[in-house]
Amino acid sequence: MTQTQTQSQSSETGSEYRVAHTTQYAYAEPVSLSMHQVRLSPRASASQHVRNTRLQIDPPASASSSRSDYYGNLATTFSVADAHRQLRVTAESLVTKVDENGGRLLSPRLSDALDQLRRRETPEDLAAVEYQVESPLAPRGVAFARFADVALVPDRSVMEGTEALMTLIYREFEYDPVATTVSTPVATVLEGRRGVCQDFAHLMIACLRSHGVPARYVSGYLVPRPGIVGAQASHAWVSAYCPGVGWVDFDPTNNVMPSHGHITLAWGRDFEDVSPFKGVTVGGGNHTVSVNVHITPTA
């Protein structure tokens, strides 16, 4: 079994950030009733501590309830029953990133890993099947497999191969906020070689799944730093599963392995499962939306 070492990106440990995510809708006509479902509370994990999560809704919600969804993300559903022409929702949290492990990851050869996945001997391997099969926005396909062939080589380790795939996408694709919309299929992204973080994440997931590697979609934020694309807004990246290792994050938009600079909101099979903000209205006519994300160190 070939083993490889991957250096995870590392920075200062234990820093706490205040995350403020504001979404504002303005409607051309009054909305008589609106209902929303948001996933705006960062997930707590071994590498991420979360406290003081608050959701401010203006005008005030007439009803609101929160629950942990199928994937363990916190989903809040609320409705606004007074007529309104604008809606402003601010989610605030304090998030501390902590060191989880040394960042050196040993992983099995891809071909061995796939064999092991096929046997599904551990509960973790079995649970990963959910992310190994296709999902609506991240299908499997010959074109994705072919594109990733050069990176996901059977004799390479899973981590090495996945990192190579991340780099491949980073090099071959251009970040272009106008080339795609939220509904652009990932096959079109592959052909056009352009897109934004959401497109690159879906593409990388589709490539991994097409080779049999379980992969999931992660939504979150970037701590602003020079040279990093995607701060001031929601960000998205990928988590890949390797038997015996577990889930490891990759950010194809920035060609980095997320660590302290990435704050995780939620994960699922693709964007549809973790959409930070969705809603339906009665009335309203045309609308505009603006989103603002502020991340500042508390200390």
């Binding site: 979404t23 809708y25 008589s32 009733l33 209902m35 929303h36 479902q37 007439s62 009803a63 309830s65 629950r67 969804d69 199928y70 994937y71 559903t77 409705s79 029953a81 599904r120 509960p123 079995l126 099947v129 959910e130 190994q132 099969v133 296709e134 609506p136 499997r140 010959v142 939220v182 807004a233 929601s234 549809e272 499962d273 959409s275 930070p276 903000f277 969705k278 809603g279 339906v280 209205t281 009665v282 009335g283 309203g284 609308h287 939306v289 989103v291």
Partner: protein, 833 residues
């Protein structure tokens, strides 16, 4: 006994009626001897009778062709399918077991997923299945059951054994059609039904009702249950309306419901009323646009949250379509052992899920003998018969399967059994599939003693679907036990009171009733005006003159029945009027024509199909066929006769609809619509008939009296003296004349007082204020001053009053719409960030 009507079975298939020795099987003998005694002629006559009943009951289904939807009469083959009572008992137990099994599978997969963890079911099958709705994971099913109703399609192979061809768990269709089939057959073959000792379906509706009521959360005494339909264009809308009507629940569309504080309410004329249970016919993922696939606009936003809170139940439970997957059939024997600790009693047609190694190889090697289906529900029931594919297409299919094996299943192609159907030349064999239904009752399932049979269009095709031209059949379970004779179903077919549940009259339905009243009155007015105009042609008419003809034409133009064509190659008045009348009766249905107006009436009535009696339907069909026949033979006397008939029928339409309803809010709004429209029509007639420049006023008065159906009333009061002020008095001010504006206003005011209070109780409603003012304006009129002619030969005061009253009535209509009839606008999705 020998086969009746020279019936010859198809070799190589099990025949349901004729045994291997060529004689009629014992349980078919009663039916067979009836058929033999009928002969072809009587059988054809009874078939016609059945068709008439189906048409009169508005029994239809929808076929999607290209982008359009076609409505077709429900195809029923009159010859029932008969199954032996003992054989049925075995099927009954097996179906109840299977319903229980699938219910348990759902409970597991939407819960702890032991079946996945213990590898009884492959994880891929679950996770790649678009019908696995993760939003429903952990949702409490109503009444503790995921499946309130379950249906199975059964087929019989040449060796006589039954097999399950498919499971229907999402929102199984066909129960309503099965019951309605029995109603029709019972009406057409009552003697045969009795002689055959068939098990009755009389308890089916009552059982279903009890099953639903015990499923509602909260154990309320009288739970409010609604039947939710996608609307009149849905494939099986007839059935949704049928069930709602016969179960006595309100039929609603998604926009009739709203969720407030995690509770579902129905928007009614009387305000928001809480709903306890929703019987859905939508696919699960079309039930809540907030939770499910973001492209869906149907359903009720927030429904899932309300279910999660336990404040409302949905049946079948949201997510039930998960086990409506042919791929699951391959695993059922093992699932049955694990979950129920029993052997599966009824086998499924041999099924291979291509997602499993081994199965895939088998399928690819035997494509010719197999039927390939999508492994997951796709909404459509696609099937590919391997044998019929040309080689190139077969290779492409094989490649598709190899690429995404988990998306396909293959099933053995069963040589289906045949059963007799009636054809023009006698009886003929057709392939047969039977849908049976199980309903949750107590701690198990109860199977309906009957079902929905389906036969193929010919013996060339194994495609046993109505879409492929097949027919349906009533299913008779022979060997009736001593059951009390009841015909609940037949009694239930009486026209149903539109406002049985007054408070549950959805605002949408109230709106449709209001417009039905308006359109009906509008067509009647048009027919009356036209009928008054036609005699002007008559050579003997005393009123016939060029001026009268020209006046009549401009009258029709002013009333916007025909386009203004003056100047465009001016025809002589007689020819122009004649062509205007022809246009109004023409089939091309130009704007303003009678046909065009009938279309409006019909489409509004269509939205109310579940609320209108068969008689109302017959009247509309009759009007349309009358109009068609007039279009063909357009003699003057023919036109006159048609118009006479039309006016008579329209008068009876108003009566039929109105008399069929109790005096609840539904009836009230229908009548409000009629009265507002009638008042508006009279105002229009007076406005255009009297207020122009005077020419032959007597002719105009006669025309107006005729057009408003007031000739007799006028003569009885004023004999033959034709004077404008007397006419105005009769049509505008006389509150004892049922055709006058004053009469309509008076009745409208009474109706408005009975409507539920508007959001600002205590204060006089805007509706009431408008009416009081209008009535006062009429009461204060000085008739002679009103009708006075000014120097230009006009009547300015009359014009002012007519205009004012018209404005008041339009204002009333707007106020009613705003306060009572507005239902929710469709929901919109917000763009994702």
């Amino acid at each position: 006994m020998k086969a009746p009507l020279a019936y010859t079975p198809l070799p190589g298939h099990y025949d349901e009626m004729i045994g291997p020795d060529g004689t009629v099987r014992p349980h078919w003998q009663a039916l067979a001897s009836s058929l033999a005694s009928f002969g072809r002629h009587e059988l054809n006559r009874r078939t016609q009778e059945a068709r008439r009943l189906i048409r009169d009951n508005g029994m239809t289904f929808h076929v999607h062709k290209g982008s359009g939807t076609q409505e077709r009469p429900w195809p029923l083959d009159l010859i029932p399918f008969v199954i032996d009572g003992e054989e049925w008992s075995r099927l009954e137990r097996a179906i109840a077991q299977r319903a229980m099994l699938l219910d348990s599978v759902l409970a597991d997969l939407y819960g702890d997923q032991h079946l996945i963890r213990e590898r009884t079911l492959p994880a891929e099958w679950l996770h790649a299945n678009p019908a696995f709705l993760r939003e429903c994971h952990g949702l409490p099913p109503s009444g503790g059951r995921w499946l309130n109703v379950y249906a199975a399609d059964l087929v019989r192979s040449p060796d006589g054994r039954w097999w399950v061809l498919g499971d229907r768990t999402e929102a199984p269709a066909g129960l309503g059609f099965a019951l309605e089939n029995r109603v029709v057959v019972n009406a057409v073959l009552p003697d045969v039904l009795l002689a055959s000792k068939v098990r009755r379906l009389a308890d089916a509706l009552e059982n279903r009702k009890q099953s639903l009521e015990s499923s509602a959360p909260g154990h309320r005494e009288n739970p409010r249950i609604v039947v939710m339909t996608p609307g009149p264009t849905a494939d099986n809308y007839f059935e949704h309306a049928f069930l709602a009507r016969h179960l006595g629940y309100t039929l609603v569309e998604g926009t009739d419901l709203t969720v407030r504080n995690d509770r579902v309410y129905i928007k009614t004329l009387g305000g928001l009323q809480p709903v306890d249970l929703v019987l859905r016919s939508h696919q699960s993922d079309a039930c809540d646009p907030l939770e499910f696939a973001s492209h869906s606009r149907t359903g009720v936003p927030g429904l899932v949250a309300a279910v999660r809170r336990g404040s409302v139940g949905v049946v079948n439970a949201l997510g039930s379509g998960l086990v409506d997957s042919p791929a699951l059939m391959a695993f059922l024997p093992a699932l049955c052992k694990q979950l129920l600790d029993e052997e599966l009693q009824l086998p499924s047609v041999a099924t291979w899920w291509c997602g499993a190694d081994g199965a895939r190889e088998h399928v690819l090697g035997h494509l010719d003998d197999l039927v390939i289906k999508p492994a997951y529900p796709t909404g459509r029931r696609e099937r590919t018969f391997g044998r019929r594919l040309p080689e190139s297409q077969r290779d492409r299919l094989a490649a598709r399967i190899a690429r995404q094996p988990h998306r396909y299943v293959a099933q053995e192609q069963v040589a289906l059994s045949t059963t007799p159907v009636r054809t023009a030349s006698g009886l003929a064999p057709r392939f047969f599939v039977m849908r049976v239904f199980a309903i949750a009752r107590g701690d198990g399932y109860e199977v309906l003693p009957g079902g929905l049979g389906r036969v193929s269009a010919s013996t060339d095709s194994l495609d046993v679907t109505l879409l492929a031209g097949g027919s349906s059949k009533d299913v008779w379970v022979s060997g009736q036990t001593e059951e009390p004779h009841r015909s609940l179903l037949a009694q239930n077919l009486a026209p149903i009171d539109v406002s049985r549940a007054t408070f549950d009259l959805p605002s949408r339905v109230a709106d449709n009733l209001y417009w039905l009243g308006r359109y009906a009155e509008r067509v009647e007015a048009a027919a009356r005006v036209l009928r008054a105009v036609v005699p002007l042609f008559s050579e003997e008419s005393a009123r016939r003159s060029t001026a009268a003809l020209a006046g009549a034409l401009s009258f029709l133009v002013d009333l916007e029945y025909v386009p203004d064509k003056t100047g465009a190659g001016a025809q002589p008045p007689e020819r122009a009027l004649e062509s205007a009348v022809a246009t109004m009766l023409d089939e091309s249905k130009e704007r303003g024509s009678i046909g065009w107006q009938l279309d409006h009436l019909r489409s509004t009535a269509w939205l109310l199909r579940d609320r209108l009696s068969a008689d109302s339907w017959r009247i509309i069909s009759r009007l349309e066929s009358d109009l068609r026949s007039t279009g063909k033979r357009r003699t003057r006397s023919g036109v006159r006769r048609t118009l006479d008939q039309m006016v008579m029928i329209l008068t009876s339409f108003a009566g039929t609809v109105s008399e069929g309803m109790t005096r609840g809010h539904g009836w009230r709004l229908l009548d409000v619509g009629r009265r507002i429209e009638r008042a508006l029509q009279v105002l229009q007639l007076l406005r255009h008939g009297l207020t122009g420049v005077l020419d032959d006023e007597r002719a105009r008065i006669e025309l107006l009296l005729d057009a408003t159906g007031s000739v007799m009333t006028y003569r009885s009061r004023y004999l033959t003296s034709l004077r404008v002020n007397l006419l105005v008095d009769l049509l505008l001010l006389d509150d004892a004349n049922p055709r006058s504006v004053a009469f309509q206003l008076d009745h409208l005011q009474r109706h408005v007082k009975e409507l539920p209070e508007t959001p600002a109780p205590g204060r006089r409603s805007p509706e009431s204020r408008l009416l009081t003012d209008a009535i006062a304006a009429i009461q204060l009129v000085d008739l002679d001053a009103l009708c006075a002619v000014d120097g230009d030969g006009r009547r300015p005061q009359l014009v002012a009053l007519l205009d004012r009253l018209q404005k008041d009535l339009v204002g009333l209509s707007d106020a009613l719409t705003r306060d009572y009839l507005t239902h929710a606008a469709p929901v919109r999705h917000l763009a994702s960030q």
